[in-house]
Amino acid sequence: MASWGEASESRLIGKRIPRLSGRDKVTGKAKYTFDINRPGMLYGRILRSEIAHANVVGVDLSEAEALPGVKAVIQIVEVGNKIRYQGQEIAAVAAETDDIAKDAIRLIHVDLEELPHVVTEADAMAEDAPQIRDDWAGNQSNPNVREEGDLEGGFAQAAVEVEATYHAPVQTHVCLETHGNVAEWEDEQNLTVWASTQGVFGVRNDLAGSFNLPANQVRVITEHMGGGFGSKFGPGVEGRRVAELARITGRPVKLMLTRKAEHLVAGNRPSMTQHVRAGATGDGRLIAYDMKGHGTGGISSGAGFQAPYVYDVPNLRTERVNVAVNVGNQRAMRAPGHPQGAFAMDSLMDELAEKLGMNPLEFRRINDPSEVRQAQYTLGAQEIGWHRRNSVPGAGTGVKKRGMGVGSGQWGGGGGRGTQARVTINSDGTVEAVTGTQDIGTGIRTAIAIIVAEEFGLAPTDIMVTVGDSGPGLPSGGSGGSQTTASVAPVIKTAAAAAKQKLFERIAPQLNAPVGDLRVGNRTIYVVSDRTKTIKWELATGQLGMDSISEGGEWDEELRQGGVAGTQFAEVEVDTEIGEVRVIKIVAVQDCGLAINRLTTESQINGGVIMGLGQALLEERLMDALTGRMLNANLEDYKVPGTFEIPEIKSIVFDTHRKVTGIGEPPCIPTPGAIANAVYNAIGVRVRELPITPDKILTALAEKKA
């Protein structure tokens, strides 16, 4: 049975190892899709609708086509079709420079017959709202209802009840490298695309289908990628159209979305509004939970959220609907449905605990079925100094008040089948590892090198890793669901083990020892029964001559495991005069399974916490009901965390077993709930709406006074 071995035996796995791409990234050498410059390359741009809802009456491309430097103009929307949200694609151009492309876009004339729009959920759900989806009544999907146990019986047992409404607005991904591609046709039948994507094979297959080509005649390359967070799987309209522009012009074309378009059409985390009534027994058992909620994923559905979350509730009823608005569609965003659900649930838990007169941590201990989190509560509480928290919320004196809160999360991330990989040992001692996954910033390239180097007694820098290229024809899944490492690691490990076995078979006769007695040490192969028999790595591989060893790997269920629990504790300081919340410290205790690289694992936890902090305090897509436009489609008014917002973060890699799991998403889940609870503990008034901005704090404080 394959295993990762004991921690004490690992030379590299589980250690802190700088990522292999570091040097290229700090010197500016790393080429992202946005940086690709091909000979003769044209620049593409897309004209998008500024109107949220309209009939397309006419599109006139002629002036744009006549502009010198413009090489192609294509119409995307048909006359007679509908525009359904701001940012929807109307036409695209390819020109000699980006500035000319920009000019050309302005020369396209579009006649739109404006239709009444709804861009906020309140407007969409209003009685006389314009109907924007033919298949839904009242702009709402059919309710999704779940019932368990006996709700009324549950409430009958409850000693305390809480009824409250929690809300989290739409958040956008804000990938710093916007979505986009560079497309180049070698000939009529062969297309190469540099794509900023989380799934090179998904993009390959989509484009092959769109252009009716055999899949292996489309090559997709993503050497480095500037953030996706769930929004970059398919090629999108822009990807298919840039390939079309390249085909028409016979030249490579680069088309990257503008920052504004990135906010409007490249995905978002759906909103959540939930009205909950819940009860707990006198001895602190969560006993009944009744939730009615909705959210919007734009014109599409997909606005699900977790409710209830992680804690056991025997008697429940939940009812959820999707609300349609004339706004760009949602896409998966880091732990879809979880952080907003966790925020509401953890807020509710604290409200119930307070009614019971119970420490919120104690109340969680009673209701949380996860043994892992039970241990994490103890560790996290120690680390933050939970005893220092206000036993009476808002009890502190002075203008600036401090408080502490806790939140929880749960994720899958166990990986799956579908990855092919190849590990090659060349006669000069070099080693190559190739697979079709992609490094979206999580460090999978380095993880692969660590696994192979551990197997061979080499250093990670000795391993040449190729990922992010469909060319070698070794598929792997898209990087989503925190599945990448757990999907790829077992296959790489078994490929390396198979290659090592082949090398041992070649070397064993020379060492005069049975194959089973051979082991790798530091750049050597030795015989375990007679340690005087050794051969240096390069000497061993030198025997291979032209005959390099190249082995594929296999999926191995035993090397991975899904299911990760996490807990976070927050300490905040609230300025009661200006309403500002400053997070002082976050303790993130994150179940990680076997962390292949402790350093990059900590980075992932930090990153999740910071994204969660943004959701808690800063981020909100603002729609103008009147014009139907997004008010903050830039990086100034849509605020993501910057240096001033960063607290002390204690990321604790909580190892529970020696199997690989994924942790890209889970660390962002508990943060908003922990911060919201800390704010309450500081000031004694609860803000039930994210983001917790100064206006909401001041309003809440004023209401408390009144």
Binding site: T27, N37, D99, D111, L176, N606
Partner: protein, 211 residues
């Protein structure tokens, strides 16, 4: 219902307006160096929005002759520019992220000061020393900030990294022993979406010990 029909045609964004204004200023004030471009510079003097000229930029100690329009930003030259012999400038370390001075992804040094290259017109960068992230290392020897960023994993996707590296190097050249607060202030013009900040702070501290 003609009154309901809207024409979505030519529109001027805030930035194209700004760059347009820049055009006039450039043509008026830096005419002598623009004149290097000969005929084309004459167009620029008339304030034509798409007038172009050949200018010289000194980037990482190397002269580049590039043809630019009055509205062309320094960032466009670095990333997309083609010099007069037909070679790509190809200094793509500085990134285009927000295109309006909000994120610091395009940070470079101009005469030792930090500049958002997306907000500077190429013509305004003449007769100055421009240093990009590609110019920080001394051959194979990385700048201490670069070395520290690698060791402390102060990067994830790495898209923001060149901007942070340049800002950090500039910070340490002015203040070799910054406190955490000073680091936060010094890097407040840069944004990272992956959330690498804690390790960036660690890296800058570590680098400061080597300065």
């Amino acid at each position: 219902m003609p009154d309901k029909e809207k024409k979505q045609g030519t529109s001027i964004s805030r930035r194209s307006f700004l760059k347009g204004v820049g055009t006039g200023t450039v043509a008026a004030t830096v005419a002598p160096s623009v004149l290097i471009g000969g005929e084309k510079a004459a167009d620029a003097q008339e304030g034509d929005a798409v007038a172009s000229a050949t200018i010289q930029l000194n980037i990482n100690g190397k002269p580049y002759q590039v043809e630019v329009e009055a509205r062309t930003t320094l960032l466009t030259v670095l990333r997309d520019g083609i010099d007069t012999s037909g070679n790509n400038v190809d200094l793509t370390g500085a990134k285009l992220i927000c295109d309006r001075g909000e994120c610091g992804g395009c940070t470079v040094m101009v005469d030792g000061s930090l500049v958002y290259a997306c907000m500077m017109l190429a013509m305004d960068a003449q007769d100055k020393q421009i240093t990009t992230v590609e110019g920080l290392a001394d051959g194979d020897d990385l700048h201490p900030v670069q070395e520290a960023f690698i060791q402390h994993d102060a990067l994830m996707c790495g898209f923001c990294t060149p901007g942070f590296v340049v800002s950090s190097a500039a910070l340490l050249s002015e203040n070799t022993k910054p406190t955490l607060e000073e680091i936060k202030v010094g890097l407040s013009g840069n944004t990272c979406r992956c959330g690498t900040y804690p390790f960036i702070f660690d890296a800058v501290k570590a680098a400061s010990k080597k300065m």
